[in-house]
Symmetry: C2
Subunit: 245 residues, 2 copies
């Protein structure tokens, strides 16, 4: 039975997130239902990242097994045809061997977080950025972020409802740069805790406003206490960029 | 009576265009109605570009006169507060003298047209680009576009319903470049005919597909016959970028 790897782009606005849920459309349901329409069997998607409601993806990866043998180009067209009611699009389909697993074999996941700093409300980028009416200091944010790189207990940046066994993770990159009127925060790790990126961004935003220092971020990390960290940055600024295998 | 210059960003999706109309919300109506709410008088906007339904703007310019004297920052906040139901946002307000006229004193208008070339339907950029499933050749398009620069009779690129007295315009720039998976076409001129940019883009797309040559574009220009030109590219890929005074 062939295994197919999908690279997926989606606009998370109006979706309940990756995972199939009862309260609205999800990416998983959109693609699984699309497959069922031509595969004449139920398929089950496994993904590199179970993103929250409102989070976007530029290159989410998932895989599924299907009895039917189809040319990858035709499979891509068939899914994209049936997935049309949703803002979900399969960018690429590859045949992979049965040792490939989108979730368990992923070596590194990368995210982008976009903050728009300007007095005027976004129009074209509404729901695509976290809007701040004041300027943030990207240099101060970048410097403060560097203490998060490496192997740490990230309890201060972990959602209360996080179901992971361990709060220990290894961050490979947290970088902050100004791009026009936006601040882009890029984060890379083998895996993440629930809300980890958004909680890091909420904390760095406090540094960008000049309210917290790099030492404060270090203290928050060492406190291992979620109540010490900054707010959870909104989902709409977050993009799953890439999964590496 | 002070004259105020506005720089405006808007998402043209769902708007009937710049000009006030009976069949739906327009940018002009959104801003004029917003001003009426706090100015306690009717204001009348004059604009650098009366864009069509679905066309976006990154930096549209307009002006209006208002009896009330208001600090520019406060005026910006007041308009943006009342314009919230629409995807319209005032980026900047300046006080200008009475010789300034957004339409008649504009020296140069510039537009950007975005074409996305890939097999998969856009999600995040849905309604923001013209989607082509095949690759287009940006070099061939750029070379073919150069014959349009300068003073010409643009009858072949002018909407049948165009109300301008003359089909003669002077194009300062038409450049085509690949940016990631997109092709960006930038066009600059003192003024444009109705649908001129979209008709130029539709013609250049035929060159990009390899169906027409640079000589064909020259022949189309010289024919001065709209029926010879390419299709009118969709509004959603077009952005009014800047007005220079």
């Amino acid at each position: 039975m062939p295994r197919y790897k999908l690279t997926i782009e989606f606009d998370g606005t109006g979706l309940v997130g990756w995972q199939r849920q009862d309260n609205g459309p999800s990416v998983q349901q959109a693609i699984e239902d699309a497959c069922a329409k031509f595969a004449h069997q139920e398929v089950r998607l496994h993904t590199a990242g179970r993103t929250d409601a409102g989070v976007h993806a530029l290159g989410m990866v998932a895989h599924f097994d299907m009895e039917m043998d189809m040319p990858v180009r035709k499979l891509q067209q068939a899914i994209n045809h049936h997935v049309k009611p949703y803002r979900v699009s399969v960018l690429e389909v590859e045949v992979v061997d049965e040792t490939f697993h989108a979730r368990f074999e992923c070596l590194e996941r990368s995210y982008l977080y976009r903050i728009l700093c300007r007095s005027a409300r976004p129009t074209l980028d509404m729901g695509r950025v976290w809007w701040h009416q004041q300027q943030l200091d990207p240099q101060a944010m970048h410097i403060a972020a560097q203490c998060l790189i490496g192997n740490h207990d990230f309890s201060s940046f972990r959602a209360i409802k996080c179901q992971s066994n361990s709060p220990i993770r290894t961050l490979d990159e947290v970088s902050v740069e100004q791009v026009g009127a936006e601040i882009h925060i890029r984060v890379r790790a083998r895996s993440f805790l629930h809300h980890q990126v958004r909680n890091i961004v909420g904390t760095l935003a406090m540094v960008g406003k000049g309210k917290w220092t790099a030492q404060d971020v270090k203290d928050i990390l060492e406190a291992k206490d979620r109540r010490r960290g900054g707010e959870t940055a909104p989902a709409c600024g977050l993009y799953f960029v890439e999964a590496r295998y």
